[in-house]
Symmetry: C2
Subunit: 235 residues, 2 copies
Amino acid sequence: MAYELYYWPTIQGRGEFIRLALEAGGADYVDVSRQDDGKAMMTLMETAATPSFAPPFLRLGDRTIGQVAAILAWLGPQLGLSPNGDSDRAWLNQIQLTFADLVAEAHDTHHPVDMMAYYDQQKPEAARRSKAFRKQRIEKFLGWAEQVLSKNAAGPAWLVGDRLTYADLSLFQLVEGLTYAFPTATARVLKSTPHVVAVRDRVAALPLIAAYIDSDRRIPFNQDGVFRRYPELDD
Amino acid sequence: MAYELYYWPTIQGRGEFIRLALEAGGADYVDVSRQDDGKAMMTLMETAATPSFAPPFLRLGDRTIGQVAAILAWLGPQLGLSPNGDSDRAWLNQIQLTFADLVAEAHDTHHPVDMMAYYDQQKPEAARRSKAFRKQRIEKFLGWAEQVLSKNAAGPAWLVGDRLTYADLSLFQLVEGLTYAFPTATARVLKSTPHVVAVRDRVAALPLIAAYIDSDRRIPFNQDGVFRRYPELDD
């Protein structure tokens, strides 16, 4: 039985954290909206017994689960991307939720005051929010990830224990996304987070991830996703 | 062995979702910062083997877990506030994460462009963000909760299955918080969400919760928490 991923078909967005887990776990899955332009997704948003507030959501058989961190906490054990034990899984979940906070803040740099309006309708506010994000938040979040890696009793190769989990895949995506959206500010921070950079490189070198990134299943970054490159917001 | 909750000692804030679960579950716990004004919290932020990005975090023995939804997903089964089964727990987690998104948006109404600056330094932006929040988001989130209750195969008394879970406690807190911060806008929405109102009332009537709300352990809403009453942001 294949997993069915429902997400916007033209962006990486929040769905990319799920795609990376499915790919790294070698899962049998269908990225449904890329085949039907989102039609089934819009229907299922309404008709699912467990309706999702927003995409992405993942279906397996008669079960549909939404919210990135909830999907990953559910999927991780099935794909071998979670540690054993409730407490270690809680710690992994905590890390993922902290990354989710960073994603939300990255989104709000281009939509600080009205998420239903265009960026062009909130550019001064976006400039101010982005400045605070660049000056304080990127460093605080990636510095925290560096600390987590440094404190890992099993060594700094992975965030939790001594093997890959879904949070490492998400950290890869965060570094890629921040580098796309804020290349100058992110490069400055990455100089002081060598373990984070090493995780990014280690994930990129995983055979299944390297193959995915080379495939047309990986949608390029663009100006409709969470991470957007507006040069006026970087420095 | 008692749970130790670490959170800011003068606000409900995000810690309140944990306090409500501990209280409703009849847990033996200490709200540590209310005894030492946050000193141990600030130390543990740095020294924990699993460091938290921000409060709240909860310690039990040698394990410390942060992030509200991760704490609740870990704590729920221990306190009888989660359903059985990985899939139902994933659904509960999804609901909690959607509520967490609403909390983050409520916070951003008074801090839309710079979370390290005061509200007074971003009032025009706060007015615009609050308008979008009042006009679209409160209704969308509470309408979604109403839909979840309506679709529950076990009936609309609780969000998941036929008994109380931690998400019901959180929904109570959301209604209380939104009503405090945006009384006019929230009252308007609640007219069309009778199941949500009923959950709020049902939680308030739980003996352990009623006793908690009457106690001095429940910190009153105030202008330092997530939910703040600025009359100029409501209508």
